[in-house]
Symmetry: C2
Subunit: 438 residues, 2 copies
C-alpha cells in the first residue's frame, strides 16, 4: 500500500533498492553468525543464523506485540515479561527452531539471553529473544552460546541488511521499509511466511528508530498501528505461535512531531505487512479487499478476512478466473454464520473497479469478463514453472510489482470500512507444505 507502486526488473535492482532503504538509525548495530548443528530430535545436520540487534545504550523506550495463539512459544512468554523491565539493550533472534512447547523452553531462551547479555555487558532481562522454525524441538543452546561471540564481533552500524537477511527462513527475499521524520527515521524489517522444512510460518517484525518517543507513546502507537496493518493480513489463516512485532527507539534524535511519527510508523507497518503477504508462501497474486458501509471496523475487517481466507475463491484467483460466484459465497458464508438476518440487498461488489454484483444479482457480460481476466493477469506475480521432481518452486526471488487484485465490497449498512490483504492458493503453497516429506 505504498503511495508509489514499485516495479522491479530483476533481483539486482530489488537488492539495490533494499540497500537504499536499509540505513540504520543512530544508536543501533546489527550482527549475525551462521553455524551448523545437529538437532536432538532429528539427528542430521542443520543450519541456524543468530541475529543480534544491539543498542549503543539500553533504552526505556520500546514496545512489542505478540501472537494471540493460546500456545505461545517460550520467546513470546519471555518477551511479555520483558515489557515490564525498565530498559532494553538488545534483541537476539534465531531461525530454524521456534522453541514452542519444548521441555524447558523458557530456561533455554533465558540461557541464550544471559550469554548475549554477558558479551554485551547487559543484564539478561535487558535482552528480548525471538525464535522461528520447527515447533516442538529444543534450541541447541550450547551451539548457540558458542556462536554468540561471532555475532557480537560482527556488530556494526550503517545498514540493517545483515539482520534483514539473517532472520529469514525460506522467504524468497528480505523485506526492509523506512520512513523519515525530521532528522530521524524508522526502519523496519520483516520475516514472512516461510518454511525451512515442513513447519509453521512465523512473522517477525523489528522496527528501529532513533527518534526519541517515550515508552508509553511508543506502545500506544504500535498497538494502533498493528490493527490496520499486521492484524489485517492473512496468507493462509494460520496464526503462528511466535508472531512478534517489536518497536525500539534509541532516542538519539529529538522527535519534532509525534503525529508525524505515528503516521510514519503506520506507513512502515503497512508497507511491511504488504511485503509479508506478497512474499507469502506460493503467492501468485496479492488480493486487496476494501470493505465499506459496515457497522464497525471489526465487522468490516472480519468480512474482508472471510473473503481472502475462502479456499475456493483463493484457487480461482490463482487461475486468473473471475469466479465471482465464489466471492458471493464467501460473503454469504460469513454473514450467514456471524450475523444471520443481516440485510444484503444493498451489497455492491467490484473487481478491478468493475461492478459485478448489485441489487441482489450479478451484473456480468462477456466484455466485463474479459476485463476482469485482464485485471487479474495484470496483478499476477508469476506463473507456475514446471515442477522439478514433482515439487513446485517459485521461479522468482524478487517482487516484480506491487499490483493487487482489487476487490470492493460495499455493504451499504454503516459508516465503517477496512482494508484487508490476502493472497491466492497455489501449487507452490501445497508443495512448500506437503511435498518435502511425502
Amino acid at each position: 500500500m505504498s503511495s508509489t507502486q514499485l516495479v522491479f526488473a530483476d533481483r539486482e535492482s530489488h537488492r539495490a533498492w533494499l540497500a537504499a532503504q536499509a540505513a540504520l538509525p543512530a544508536g543501533f548495530r546489527v550482527g549475525t553468525s551462521r553455524f551448523e548443528f545437529t538437532p536432538f530430535e532429528a539427528p542430521k545436520p542443520a543450519r541456524m543464523t543468530i541475529t543480534i540487534i544491539a543498542l549503543d545504550r539500553p533504552t526505556p523506550d520500546f514496545a512489542a506485540v505478540f501472537t494471540r495463539n493460546a500456545f505461545p512459544g517460550a520467546p513470546v512468554l519471555v518477551g511479555r515479561s520483558r515489557l515490564k523491565e525498565p530498559a532494553l539493550g538488545a534483541l537476539v533472534i534465531n531461525n530454524k527452531i521456534s522453541n514452542v512447547c519444548a521441555p524447558d523452553g523458557v530456561a533455554d531462551a533465558e540461557r541464550v539471553c544471559a550469554e548475549a547479555a554477558r558479551l554485551l555487558s547487559l543484564s539478561a532481562s535487558q535482552v528480548l529473544p525471538s525464535s522461528t522454525g520447527v515447533i516442538g524441538w529444543s534450541l541447541p543452546v550450547a551451539s548457540m552460546v558458542a556462536a554468540l561471540p561471532d555475532a557480537v564481533g560482527a556488530l556494526a552500524g550503517g545498514s540493517v541488511m545483515p539482520a534483514a537477511d539473517g532472520i529469514v527462513t525460506t522467504d524468497l527475499y528480505p523485506k526492509v521499509r523506512r520512513a523519515a521524520v525530521g532528522a530521524g527515521s524508522i526502519v523496519g524489517i520483516a520475516k514472512g511466511a516461510g518454511m525451512i522444512e515442513p513447519n509453521m510460518a512465523t512473522m517477525l517484525v523489528y522496527l528501529l528508530t532513533d527518534l526519541a518517543v517515550p515508552r508509553a507513546e511508543l506502545r500506544r502507537m504500535l498497538a494502533e498501528a498493528v490493527e490496520p496493518t499486521f492484524n489485517s493480513i492473512s496468507i493462509d489463516s494460520d496464526t503462528s505461535t511466535s508472531d512478534t512485532v517489536a518497536l525500539v527507539s534509541s532516542g538519539r534524535v529529538p522527535c519534532p512531531d509525534t503525529a508525524a511519527f505515528s503516521r510514519a510508523l503506520l506507513g512502515v507497518c503497512r508497507d511491511l505487512a504488504e511485503d509479508v503477504v506478497r512474499n507469502g508462501e506460493g503467492v501468485h497474486h496479492v488480493v486487496r479487499v476494501s470493505v465499506s458501509g459496515a457497522a464497525g471496523f471489526a465487522e468490516a475487517r472480519a468480512l474482508g478476512k472471510a473473503v481472502v481466507n475462502a479456499p475456493l475463491f483463493k484457487c480461482a484467483v490463482a487461475g486468473n478466473d473471475p469466479n465471482v460466484g465464489r466471492l458471493v459465497q464467501a460473503i454469504g458464508k460469513h454473514v450467514g454464520a456471524h450475523s444471520p438476518g443481516t440485510g444484503l440487498s444493498g451489497v455492491r461488489l467490484t473487481l478491478g473497479g468493475i461492478e459485478i454484483f448489485a441489487d441482489g444479482a450479478f451484473r456480468l457480460n462477456p466484455e466485463k469478463e474479459a476485463a476482469l481476466v485482464a485485471h487479474m493477469r495484470g496483478a499476477e506475480l508469476y506463473a507456475s514453472a514446471p515442477p522439478r521432481d514433482g515439487v513446485f518452486s517459485p521461479p522468482v526471488d524478487f517482487p516484480r510489482h506491487e499490483r493487487c487484485v482489487e476487490i470492493g465490497v460495499e455493504l451499504g449498512g454503516g459508516g465503517a470500512a477496512a482494508v484487508v490483504l490476502g493472497a491466492d492458493l497455489t501449487h507452490e503453497y501445497v508443495s512448500e507444505n506437503a511435498d518435502y516429506r511425502s
Copy 2:
C-alpha cells in the same frame, strides 16, 4: 463412521456394493434425463442431467434443512416455502447450473416445478426443486421443460441408482447408504464436493424411507441428525449457497420403533457425511478429530473444525507428515481467538492413538515418529499421479478403504465431546479449482 470398515479392490466391487445398497423403499420411483444445451452466459455446449424422485402419492411427511449461507440459491428459497405446504409429491434436481443470484431465479425454479407437476398430475407447490452447478447463471428453462417428459417416462422403482448417478457433478463416484428398520428402510444418496467447471461445491442429500413417521417427528429427527453429521464435516470450509438435505417418507410401512428409526437415520446421515468427505475434491486422507473434555458440544465441534480447516495442518497430512506443531498451532489459534484465557495445561493430544502432547509439552521420539508416519500412510486413499498437461487428476474412481487419520483432542475441561470429519489439502484440490482456466 460405519461400524464395519469397508475395503474395495476396484471400481466394479464398489459398484456392486452400491447396487446392493440401492433398493428403493416402497412408494418411490426415480428417473433421469440427460441433454445438451447452450448456456446464455457462455455460448458453448454443456450437458445437464435432470433427476426426478417421485412418490406414488403425495405425502405430508417430509423434512428438509438448507444452507446457512446468506446468499441462498433460488431453489433454497423455494424449498423453504415448500416446508409450509401440506404435501410433497416429487423432487426435481438438476446439475450444471445452481440458479443462485441469477435474474428471475425463483420464477425459473417455479416454472420447472410447474411443468414437472403437470406431467405428474401434481401441483407445483408439491414439487421440491434443487440445483447445483455454476453460480450466477440462469437455468435453461426451455431445454429443461423439453427434457422433463423423458425423465418422467423413465420413472421406475427398484433402485435409487439412476438418481444417485444423476445428481453428481465431478464426484468420482455416486454415494448410497441404507439402513433397515423392521420391514422398512431408509435409503440416502448424496452429491458431494465437485466441479463441472471452476465453480462452487454443493452438497445435496436425499433420504427416502417407506417407514411411516409423521412430519413433525421427521423434522425433529432430521434437525437432530444433521448436527453431528453433515454439520460436523468440512472439506474446505466453504459453505455452498445450495446445500440441501431432504428426508421424505412414503408412509407405506408402519414404523415399529421411532427410536430405532432415529438411530437408523443418524447412521445413514453419518455414513453419507463421511462418504461426502472421502470423495471431497482432491482428498487423499480423511481426518477424524475426536474432541472431548469440552464445555459444550458447540465448543467441541468448533475446535474440531478449526483443526480440519487449518491449511498448514491439512498440507502436512497430505504429505504423510506428522507435523504435530501445526496441530498445536491450530488449537492455540482457535482458543486464542475465541476463548482467550482458557487453561490449556490439561490438554492431551493423540494421533493414531499415540500420545503426542501432554502437560504443556510434546511427547515425541523417533520411534513414535515412525509409528505416526505409518498411521498416516495407512489412511492414505491414493498418492498423486504425475499431472497430465500440468493438471493433477485423482487416479481412482472408487473409495479404496474407510480408514481415517485419527486425532484425539482431550481438553480436560468439561464433559462434552464432538467428532468432526475433514480432509487434507492437495495438488488435486488446487488443480480442480484453479488450473482449468489458468
